[in-house]
Amino acid sequence: MPTITIGNAQGFWGDQPDAPARLLEQYPALDFLTLDYLAEVSMSILALQREREPHAGYARDFVDVVRSLAPAWRAGSRLRVVCNAGGLNPEACAQACGRALAEAGVRKRIGIVRGDDVLDLLRKNPGEASFRNLESGRPLREVADRLITANAYIGGRAVARALDQGADIVISGRVADPSLTVGICVHAFGWSWTDYARLANATVGGHIIECGAQATGGIATHWLEVPEPGNVGFPVLEVNENADLVVTKPRGTGGEVSLRTVKEQLLYEIGDPKNYLSPDCRVDFSTLRVAAVGPDRVSVTGAGGSAPPDTFKVSATYRDGYSASGSLTIFGRDALAKARRSGEIILERLRRAGLECERSEVEYLGANAAARGILSSPVLLETVLRISVADPRREVVERFTRELAALITGGPQGLTGYAAGRPGVHPVFAFWPCLVSRERVIVSTSVSGGG
């Protein structure tokens, strides 16, 4: 039975920059490579970049990835690449990649997927019911004038179409992460878009590899026992025409593909496992069969599938004031009590200046801060005081960053770790999840270049 191989070498924007070229070197027969650049807040960062510069608004790192793959392509690799690095500006991303390829003397056809951007639609219809916040139920009107981005999570159809049209590189915006894999599979095997069982199992495959090394030993509970995590191999899916999967990784690399790593990743960021929603299908995880079938080989079969909802999920972001976070190290007897008192002093000073912040958080790292109130703190000789504030007014947050330094001379003995200087003030981009009906999202593809 014919099988295709799909790798992932970029689990998020900021992952190892040389991972794609290394994966191809370690696994030269790889057919397809998926790269995931977009998280909920990445879009707002891209929006700010585009505000400053109209040719920006995409993940520039991807251009370097394309350049790094050029030698393998020149040597005859047939690898095709599918990514969502286009962000808010797939055209500009494609142009930059085209230039990089031309400089490297490689001819490749580049496909672009457009249409996920629904910002204008949301701005013009702030009273619409489906644009209410999916979690809080609040109407979009409350934040409509502060919206920065709004993108529908679109499915794999456009990816498949671009590959059908001969694209070697597909650059999209907000295609849902697992749909990159689904689009590749439908292109390769010609499945119908109503063949929900196959689409569902392929979606599970995409879900497993979309976070890169998280499928191969990264963040595993038993991470300390995972071999050579510094040389971790990125995940590779072998998919056959029935959508049966084997998850594996290149030979000779570190990390581990085992029942433990794959099952943990199956449960990563999911809600109701019988109703996992993707733009391509609804997936039921409860019928999955997962089995170890060889060294670093785990098979995944049997996902249940049914028709997807008639809406796309929208990931929108809006401006929500400013925040800053500063840390100081406190060492010595009664470190925790000293840290508590220091934190109180800072917030009290802001209050007395009439600049109380809308939100603030004081934490003591080392004292089980991440489990505060649940796991009690051991006696500490050292803690990191971390104070964070947020407020709609930039000047209030700025004042906080200046107050912090006064502790160097007026605070407890043993206070150190301030060499990095004042903490920066950052704009906050809050997340607004909502829905949009499918017929209002017009997705298109185009393919150019190469020859």
Binding site: T221, L267, G271, K274, L288, E363, V389
Partner: protein
């Protein structure tokens, strides 16, 4: 595995007098592994038993209410539990545990990466013989 510094006084005295204790104190991480991450303003925690006996124990012991009570200081919201016997796993959804979610939360763990590790520290009582079977990987 039975001899733990955090065992109860009863267990210790039973050991001295030669009788087996009826239950011992363990942590969830002795019989399960986990993974957590954010979902909007909330988070999920997948808990995976090492084996079938461990899964049966978790099914009867690790209720949504118990997880909600454990995370109460972090205001987790209405905790929902989903069962995945095919993976020997439970999935817990904690809808408001991140205090604003990945983009707004001021907490050090704004994205819920630590929640799995926190839950694995949950203390549990278990029959020692049953524990020996549940702890097998």
């Amino acid at each position: 595995m039975l001899y733990r510094p955090d065992r109860s006084v009863e267990a210790a005295s039973a050991e001295i007098t030669g009788t087996l204790p009826t239950s011992i104190a363990i942590r969830l991480g002795d019989i399960a592994h986990a993974r957590s991450g954010d979902k909007g303003g909330g988070a999920n925690i997948g808990v995976l038993a090492f084996n079938e006996e461990g899964f049966e124990f978790l099914l009867s012991t690790l209720s949504a209410d118990r997880v909600a009570a454990y995370f109460e200081p972090m205001q987790p919201g209405e905790v929902r539990r989903y069962e995945l016997p095919n993976l020997l796993a439970l999935n817990f959804v904690l809808p408001t545990v991140l205090a604003g979610g990945g983009s707004r939360s001021l907490r050090i763990d704004a994205q819920g990466k630590c929640l799995g590790q926190i839950l694995l520290e949950m203390p549990l009582e278990i029959d020692p013989q049953r524990f020996a079977r549940c702890a097998r990987r």
